[in-house]
Subunit: 413 residues, 2 copies
Amino acid sequence: MLCASICTIGDEILIGQVTDTNSGNIARALEEAGIHVRSMISVGDSKEAIEDALHRELERSSIVITTGGLGPTKDDITKAVLARFSGSKGYREDPGQLEMVHKILRGRGLDVLPINLAQAQVPEKAEVIVNRLGTAPIMVFRSLLGKSTLYALPGVPHEAVGAIPAVLEDILAHFKPGSIIHRNIMVYGMAESALSEKIAPWEDALPANMHLAYLPNTLTGIRLRLSSYGGDEKSLEAQLEALKEMLGELVYASEDSTLEAAVGKLLKERGETVSAAESCTGGEIAHLFTSVSGSSAYFLGSVTSYAVTVKEKVLGVPAVVIRDNGVVSSEVAAAMAEGVRRLTGSTYSVATTGLADKDGDGQNPGGTVWIGVSGPRGTRTVKYCYKNDRARNIERFAASALNFLRLYIENRI
Amino acid sequence: MLCASICTIGDEILIGQVTDTNSGNIARALEEAGIHVRSMISVGDSKEAIEDALHRELERSSIVITTGGLGPTKDDITKAVLARFSGSKGYREDPGQLEMVHKILRGRGLDVLPINLAQAQVPEKAEVIVNRLGTAPIMVFRSLLGKSTLYALPGVPHEAVGAIPAVLEDILAHFKPGSIIHRNIMVYGMAESALSEKIAPWEDALPANMHLAYLPNTLTGIRLRLSSYGGDEKSLEAQLEALKEMLGELVYASEDSTLEAAVGKLLKERGETVSAAESCTGGEIAHLFTSVSGSSAYFLGSVTSYAVTVKEKVLGVPAVVIRDNGVVSSEVAAAMAEGVRRLTGSTYSVATTGLADKDGDGQNPGGTVWIGVSGPRGTRTVKYCYKNDRARNIERFAASALNFLRLYIENRI
């Protein structure tokens, strides 16, 4: 099996000020290409720590990918460490990257400073893949410890992601990966342990080369990933169909997806539209809808009615409904959904009103949300109560609202 | 220096399906307590990989914290590996965690299944810290390899975060950390390399025990972190003041913060309010505002006007303004900002209209955004053009809009 290690370099990760998303993005691409990621490691901007990690990973994996430490500022030392580590006698200027440095800075209307020009200097033993998104070159060092290849990528997330296709191309030109097939289904509305009990007989009967993983995530529910090592696609698909059959309406997508993308797909297929009225979710539902490319085809708009006056004046929720039932109520959720549907003329609408913080309002405990969905078949509401912090409650409210909307569109409620 | 390693366990991280946020959260807490994080490593759910990583990290660090692999499902094997690794002869039932398993499942209205009860079984050599947020216990193994302590935390992010205070308390009862002081300032509106050139003379003259790190992030601009190793707080603060003086209006906060929190703080101090009208940012600005606890004091609401009819009907943007100038224009941004301010009665308002995707609309290239801010001193607009993918463009649009609003409130534009 062809193995790779990913090594992120930077103090900012080790002290927890920045979350490392590069490793995940690189890992996803490697796995899809059939390359097994053996480990990921993060170390700080120190010569000893970087060399120690490189030794450890180059001994164990044929491919090591580093990100970070290539910036122009004084705290970035990866290039110097790699120069030494690769036995480079000196530096050379890379004409391709030099041209790109000029082009990028010109495009941003900035002067080219000496600190920028230094970015095009690379250790003599490095091959260069030009980085079109930033000034730091992507460097390739071959035959380290006599056997392994190291790719040094910039740490800036969109530059690291942008470097992946060229790095993969180089890997596939030099190595031969094995075959792993992964398939995902997305499930919402059941706890992990209950789900596990439900499918235990099926899971126990899986062939030895197949493996099921549970990947819970607030926003997407649970992703079930079925993997086949060296097996054929047909048997994998057959097992997947059996699993989907068992889970019924809990399944909202047959591939790696999100609730907002799944709902969007449904709406697009039907040529229908949606709008949202948000109180406690404060724009999160609109943000989720519009994070999907092409969402302007079905998402008309939304109103975030944080203040009561906005609920009354913009959404037309009658003051008496709020007075009689309280802001966090089935009646207000329904009136908000109906109001925004009227306002935008959408086929469906979804609304939330609740308490995202831990504190209750005297009538409802913190973490309570009323969700309303309105459409051609009338209005439905549902109440959930979660016990998390503000950020997580907002995420769960939004996910539950999208799932409730999905069930309505699918004619299940 | 007291050193720690963090080890996350789980196939889902190695294949890039889940981003590891636990390591960052744990690292942040350790650093604040003066414990240096030496490295972070992620390995899969395999006995060999876990044992290899534990050996490597326990040799190098006095403290190793693992997360993950403690779930009730078949793919989770961390507990079995730790039982063997610690030389435990068998398992015992932990009464505290058993009680918690019953309590948690009862609270969720679920039956207690055998698979849940097994969660309260721990290796004989493990001490237990009860996990109040989930069924998997937090386990402590002392004197591994004769010298180091291992804390095994659950992988579910909010459970891992919830475990940190108790783990820190245990660490501080058994170890004595050194002193590191960090201070942050937040900067928006200048590229990293230009910033570096601007402050180079000051940075070069820093005492040897102080270190500056650049932590760029789309949403927050650049975080500058000044660290002092074993030094006094007073000299650190003096250096920080000098740095802030140099950077002027680029600085939007004097602590680790975000643009939305900084704007919220300004509004709260002044007893003023804000609303938003969003087209291309699709709810992101509202989401950022409302992600701050207590934001209902100043954030009245917003309209996401994705469809042109919503811009006209809800925000009152005259059809002729759209026809004459196009949707992506200074005039429409201004009319949207004025419309939502009129609708909500807020002190200020902010509006965006632009193209988040890479494709242009014939008149404007993809990545173009017009931002409008309206308030007691009239309306201002500004245009930016970014060259990123959809998700990143939306983030930058929202951050630029918040910064433009900040400059208006601070009377700088």
